[in-house]
């Protein structure tokens, strides 16, 4: 029977075992992280420029890592075919009309492939499918925009420089404002006025608020069921009566209008001299003649009265008048 003389083999065994356990854990952690042991299938995308994308770089969908770049190779004349290994579990969420673009993990991080978009109406992506590619904004593009911005900034600062020079030399309205004390005082007064105006505006707005509030109260009363105004607004019977009244009023107005029209015609006729009343009213000669006639008539009637008085005292008619007086 074999006996172990020392504890060395056991110790060394445990030591080696633990070391290997660390290695295995590291390998499995790494494999899990790199999705090495996850079921995946290949999906392709053809780019004009991959901007330094390498095999093993991550593939993201909606910000979640769903695979890695398996292969980067030339395609046709100048394009680049990128083959990606996409996890089967994630494939159900990526649809055939999803798009791919090259991005980066952070501002200066590793290059990644970003898959985005896709409609639910389209089928999920399948093995060896080609995704539509969209040109992403590269760092160079951003730098070009930044350069344009820099140029604009330079122009702005140059303009500002010339403005400040002018101000400093004392030419222009701003320089006057800065240097002339009376102008600044006037400005101060203007500002005070403006402040007062603003206060007035504020008061006006307060009043208008009160008016609006009153209007609100009024409309609330209008909306109160049973009130006259509410019935006027909401009761259809009253409204129909009002409508018929209005129609009648209109008819009356029409009649009045006709009457006025006739009256106008009459007055016009009165102003003319081709009728009897018109001649009387307008012709002064006729008027004076008529006046004389009336005067003559008056005299005649006086004389007739005297004559009739004399007739009453006549013996021939005296008996008649006595009888009439007794009746």
């Amino acid at each position: 029977m074999k006996t172990i003389k020392t504890n060395h083999p056991v110790t060394v065994g445990i030591f080696v075992f633990l070391g290997l356990v660390i290695l295995v854990i590291a390998v499995f952690t790494l494999g899990n992280q790199k999705k090495t042991f996850v079921k995946a299938f290949a999906v392709n995308a053809v780019f004009n420029d991959v901007g330094g994308l390498q095999e093993g770089n991550n593939v993201w969908f909606s910000g979640v890592k769903v695979g890695i770049v398996k292969k980067v190779s030339f395609y046709a004349n100048f394009q680049v075919l990128v083959t990606m290994n996409i996890e089967k579990t994630a494939a159900a969420h990526i649809h055939k009309d999803a798009k791919a673009k090259i991005g980066s993990d952070g501002l200066i991080g590793n290059k990644i492939v970003i898959i985005y978009g896709g409609s639910v109406a389209t089928a999920p992506v399948a093995k060896d499918d080609f995704l539509t590619v969209e040109k992403a904004l590269s760092t160079e593009d951003m730098l070009v925009t930044l350069q344009a911005n820099n140029k604009n900034l330079l122009e702005i600062t140059n303009s500002f420089k010339s403005i400040t020079k002018k101000i400093d030399s004392g030419s222009g309205a701003i320089a006057t404002l800065l240097n002339d004390a009376s102008l600044s005082n006037k400005l101060k007064v203007t500002m005070n006025n403006l402040q007062a105006t603003t206060a007035n505006f504020e008061a006006a707005s307060l009043n208008s608020r009160n008016v609006i509030s009153s209007l609100q109260t009024f409309t609330a009363k209008l909306n109160t069921p049973g009130s006259l105004s509410n019935e006027l607004v909401s009761d259809t019977t009253v409204f129909n009566n009002l409508r018929s009244t209005a129609i009648k009023l209109k008819e009356s107005a029409d009649t009045a209008f006709q009457f006025l029209d006739n009256l106008k015609t009459v007055s016009e006729n009165l102003n003319r001299k081709d009728n009897a009343v018109g001649v009387i009213l307008n012709d002064t000669a006729v008027a004076s003649s008529l006046k004389n006639t009336i005067k003559t008539l008056e005299l005649s009637s006086q004389k007739l009265n005297e004559d009739l008085e004399a007739a009453q005292h006549n013996f021939l008619l005296k008996g008649y008048f006595k009888k009439a007086g007794k009746r």
């Binding site: 083999p9 110790t11 060394v12 030591f15 080696v16 290695l23 090495t36």
Partner: protein, 269 residues
Amino acid sequence: MEPDSEKNKLSQTKKYFISRRIDEFFIDIHNVSKFIVRFFKEAFLPPYEFQEIIKQCYEVGYKSLFLISLTGFITGIVFTKQSRPSLSTFGASSWLPSLISIAIIRALAPLVTALIAAGKVGSNMGAELGSMKVTEQIDAMEVSATNPFKFLVVTRVIAITCMLPILVMYTGFIGMIGSYLNVHHNELTSYRAFFKSAFGTISFLDIFSSVIKSVVFGFTIGIAGCYQGYYAQGGTQGVGRAANKAVVIAMFMVFIEEMIIVQFVNAIR
């Protein structure tokens, strides 16, 4: 024939190919090559000294664990502390786990472990074999029909070659733990987030290149230590010289190999 007899022959004739030192350097290379070839021959031919290999594994591996773990832990903490200001300058301290994992797994773990092992194990081998050599114990073993090369050299070289990768695993793990503690203390990063970020940037190639490197470093330390000790001469002073040369040569070779392996790995990457 021993290497020194060849050197003596060279000095007696006084006819140098280039100069004495340069000629000796190339003779040393030749002798080391023969030593390595002999190692492989003896390693694959029976009888095998398993018990001695296990004993040497214990001495080389287990007994170095504490020292190497401590060094790894300190390395992890210090490297993280030193890297933080640079990354914080442009607000990228969240990249610390990635940076540390790359540094530790790709370079620091194998290199620090190899340097510590060269200092501790290489010098130990040089001194142990050197003292056996100068006290003629090795000759005595030959006389007693024991193969001293197989028993002393092969077992030690195999032990350090096998144990160094294991020690590198421990150093890497403990170094990462040290780094995590520092990152957690400063950024309150969770354990899960730290290791997820750390493993996000490294690849299988990094781990395997690290293992391959440590095997090569272990073999180099073993060969350098054993060669210097096995051919030591000149009494106790010779033992000291052998131990010193074993450490210096092993460390120097570790750096040279590191550079060459990194070039190879980068070519593959």
